[in-house]
Amino acid sequence: MTAQPSVAASAAPGAEQAASAPLGSAARFRRYLRRHPSVAIGGGLLVVMALIGIFAPLLGTVDPTAIAPSRRTRVPSELYWFGTDMLGRDIYSRVIYGARVSLLVGFSVAILSSVVGLAIGLFAGFIRWADGVIMRIIDGMMSIPPILLAIALMALTRGSIENVIIAITIAEIPRVARLVRGVVLSLREQPYVEAAVANGARVPRIIWRHILPNTFAPMSVQATYICASAMIVEAILSFIGAGVPPATPSWGNIMAEGRALWQVRPHIILFPAVFLSLTVLAVNLLGDGLRDSLDPRLAKSL
């Protein structure tokens, strides 16, 4: 659900260039998707996952936290589609509800780190004296491998979805800030920005009219990659016991529970693994497609 407006919004500039004859917006959107099949496939798959998460209660699921020791570690059957785990919980229900956690973490981290990173990047790009200090701090932060940074933060807080989101966001902010600063520094030298300055435009107006619109394309591509990486990091944190509380149905948690039994009951790990991989693949495809359509020069090389 959340994916659709962002696809449509970022589709607009690319589609306008492509369409010479006036077309309805629906027709233009269809043409854009035809030209960029990875956006269509990735976006479509992501919408399906989002729908699965939203309508989880209607998809033949039972309570994903209901424990029933009498029917534990069942193999997949007509009754338990994906089998049951060591506490007798229905894995199908847990996997379906797990889509909520993964997508919530992915989207929240992408949005939060974009907003904060944008603010820091703009600040560093415009305020000369702050730039040196901010960039050294960012260099320092980027020298800490993101997963380790998130692990350290999670070791200091209670395991909850909010704290997982905060921890991963802190780890991702420097990447966005650095990207935005780079864009700002190159735009500042553009003749039209100099013209605006010469005309007496104030900094807020220059940022709003000339800088912000130009950060949109690289940032939306970056945001999709951050979303993908956040979903993987969430799964890793939960898998090693530093993520969301164990009872919460998250794909990482289900795999963590399947760890002890993986040699005899590999399906406990298999199902959440397939869902996680497909979702991350969808986001990555969407990101690649957006990058190709927003920056045709890069499309040829990467």
Binding site: G140, M141, I144, P145, A152, W262, V280
Partner: protein, 313 residues
């Protein structure tokens, strides 16, 4: 040249200082009361205060940071809350498996990824290129532990070619050591291969359009020499840079790979420390890995200047 080397080494010092400051500040950035969290749910108020004092949270931030950095500079990373052993000693005990895993992965990934990227660029647009790049997208999307369990299930459990889990020190023989590390290295290497192959292809595509490449081809230099001598050499800087930056991926991935394959390295030390809420150990490991990362990238930068005479700063 020497001036550049000295300057480059000096610019690393503030970065390292900020890394240390940031790692130290995590205690203050984390939401909630770290002392209460580390002490656990059953802890008495006295226990919480004891932990708070041992973390130094009862004293002013800057005073505490000064003391802490002074001790770190002397090689003291603190004491584990759970085992009461020095963190440096715990790290030293666990370093061999992790170092082995990472070095092996690095070699494996570079040997696979660079030729893959070169061939993909050479055959750009063909099915070879497309399948190589599809593999790269796949490598980015499938999480490390998924790959790990899949490989272990197929090659260890079903085919029985390699050991399922565990680690043998290299002192007990090269072959047993290698046998245990093959699956973990392939697992850890996948995302790294994806990254390096992509950058190699992108850089090579640019280099292959240069005039000197056309000249070499016109002279009748063999295709292999054009690709690997004339072009790859000129594409080396971005590729080596990404190999250095990607080490962050290796470090993060090692934590997971070690838990999947039951390798008693630094990753397992970290995971065990999380379960015991043994923060000094986590802090020590994070600091050490970050410093190693900064140093490796410094070395890479310095190597450029030696290898590539065009680079003069």
């Amino acid at each position: 040249m020497l001036a550049f080397v000295v300057r480059r080494i000096f610019t690393t010092i503030p970065v390292m200082a900020f890394v240390a400051l940031f790692v130290f500040s995590l205690l203050y950035i984390a939401p909630g009361d770290p002392a209460a969290i580390i002490a656990g749910d059953q802890a008495s108020p006295a226990d919480v205060e004891r932990i708070r004092a041992s973390l130094g949270l009862d004293r002013p931030y800057l005073v505490r940071f000064a003391e802490w950095s002074f001790r770190v500079l002397q090689g003291d990373l603190g004491t584990s809350i759970f085992t009461s052993l020095p963190v440096t000693q715990l790290i030293a005990q666990r370093i061999e498996p992790t170092l082995s895993l990472m070095v092996l992965t690095l070699i494996f990934a570079v040997v696979v990824a660079v030729p893959m990227g070169v061939v993909a660029a050479w055959k750009a647009g063909t099915w070879i290129d497309k399948s190589a790049m599809a593999f790269a997208v796949f490598g980015f999307s499938v999480p490390v532990f998924v790959v790990g369990y899949l490989l272990a299930w197929v090659f260890a459990l079903k085919l029985d070619w390699l050991p399922v889990q565990g680690y043998t020190p290299i002192a007990q023989g090269f072959w047993p050591w290698l046998k245990n590390l093959i699956l973990p290295s392939v697992t850890l290497g996948l995302v790294y291969i994806a990254l390096i192959a992509r950058i190699t292809r992108a850089t090579m595509l640019e280099v292959l359009q240069q005039d000197y490449v056309r000249t070499a081809q016109a002279k009748g230099v063999s295709q292999k020499d054009v690709l690997f001598l004339h072009s790859l050499k000129n594409a080396a800087v971005p590729i080596v840079t990404i190999i250095g930056i990607g080490i962050a991926l290796l470090i993060g991935g090692a934590v997971v790979t070690e838990s999947v394959f039951a390798i008693p390295g630094l990753g397992r030390l970290t995971v065990d420390a999380i379960l015991r809420r043994d923060y000094p150990v986590i802090q020590g490991v994070v600091l050490m890995f970050s410093m190693v990362y900064v140093l490796v990238n410094l070395l890479i930068d310095l190597t450029y200047t030696l290898v590539d005479p065009r680079i003069r700063y």
